[in-house]
Symmetry: C2
Subunit: 258 residues, 2 copies
């Protein structure tokens, strides 16, 4: 099986490595920035490609892993020979591809990828979608080479999954950054709070998060809430986040425990 | 060493168990609700106490683990014989105790305690504070029986630690609850997102969270942000949280990478 990889960012890089490790053949890498294409291609023993017009016509899969806003342009530029064109975006509908080929799909790995950290794809859920059964079967085979957790999702479900991932991962990581900043302002080490972060993430493996919610907001401990809001008085942004999330905790837990 | 435990909530329960396991002697347990005092006392082989006036005068440590708003009342009620009176609150100053005894302190375990989940105190940071050196030395000895991570903090530093814990733990857990709800609305299983939650929490053990921030907000991918805000259009509360946190990510990462 021959794969052409379009893109050289975090997802393209990790997906390329994962596919390669799974024994699949990345034949070419294209990127808007040829330098990046070259670098990634080298690490995958693939050929770097300068122009989209120079991409091989013989690949079994054209995997578009570029920013969401560029997917349609890339798809259009490679839309000949009824190629199998697949994007990797959480929030982009399959429809965006359908005018360019009758063989289209989505291959969305649900993980957060950092430049310098390897990913074990076995545990990474991969959501697939295809314009027809043949494509779905094919993408399932590819995905199962990488991961134990392959799931077929509609574009609407994948969008919901992506939004929930933004809450559970991107926003959560930002709260860690805020916590670190608050500690640093008093010369306290971020390490102090790491056991708490670990426990909070571990606990929901076997518990519904709403039922293990702790803290002043869920206890309706308004005295502590107002002490904290006062503590944050020099940072309106943090005050607003504190208040919004505290109100949300209070109403969420009221609604779920009628 | 003899300890009197005042309170029967999550902190009192877990702290009582931890002290007991560390070989310290809980002689009495008092709680506003005698039934709860009885239950906790039984599990600690201690004597339940109905009235604050009936607690023993001979204990080495009177540990107040009640809601913040009730600390002063309890301290006042037991303020004879210059007893060593210590509270366990993150956001309450040591000062609240100083009018009731010349021997006062704080013993604050930084962890999230759930009713049905045992806690390994060895890894739980314990922040201590004391009105004088003798108290600090004593509390350090007690704390070191429980934990490898004992730190002396001022009331102001402890408040900062507590606020940062609310961001990193309470708010984070609420984001997990939101993610679960968003998935459930489309009949998707919360398990799908658990590897992502684990990876996000694991990653910051060796990385500054600001430098590993991912997602549409930090990429300035406004197209995806607006898709997500539109997806949340039936829930103003979630829309506001999404927007506030996305704005915060954008400004935070701009400021930290000048």
């Amino acid at each position: 099986m021959q794969i052409v990889l379009l893109g050289s960012g975090n997802i393209a890089t990790h997906l390329g490595r994962g596919l390669k490790l799974a024994g699949l053949d990345i034949v070419q890498v294209w990127s808007r920035d040829y330098k990046n294409a070259h670098k990634l291609a080298d690490s995958l023993a693939a050929q770097p490609v300068k122009k989209l017009a120079d991409i091989t016509a013989d690949a079994d899969l054209y995997l578009i892993a570029v920013t969401d806003g560029a997917i349609a342009d890339v798809a259009k530029a490679i839309s000949t020979d009824n190629r199998l064109i697949v994007h990797t975006s959480g929030s982009t509908s399959l429809d965006i591809l359908t005018s360019f080929s009758s063989r289209t799909g989505v291959f969305y790995p649900l993980q957060t990828f950092s430049k310098n950290k390897a990913v074990d794809f076995r545990q990474v859920p991969i959501a697939i979608e295809g314009g027809n059964k043949e494509v779905i079967q094919f993408l399932r085979l590819v995905a199962e080479r990488l991961s134990e957790k392959v799931i077929e999702l509609s574009s609407a479900d994948r969008l919901a999954l992506h939004v929930s991932a933004v809450f559970a991962c991107n926003f959560t990581n930002h709260l860690y950054a805020i916590a670190k900043q608050l500690l640093a302002q008093r010369h306290l080490n971020f390490d102090l709070i790491k056991p708490l972060i670990t426990e909070t993430a571990e606990r929901i493996k076997d518990n519904d998060p709403a039922t293990v919610q702790t803290g002043p907001a869920v206890r309706s401990d308004l005295q502590t809430v107002s002490k904290h809001v006062d503590f944050l008085k020099d940072d309106t942004r943090l005050q607003e986040i504190y208040e919004k999330l505290s109100q949300s905790i209070a109403s969420f837990n009221k609604n779920s425990q009628p």
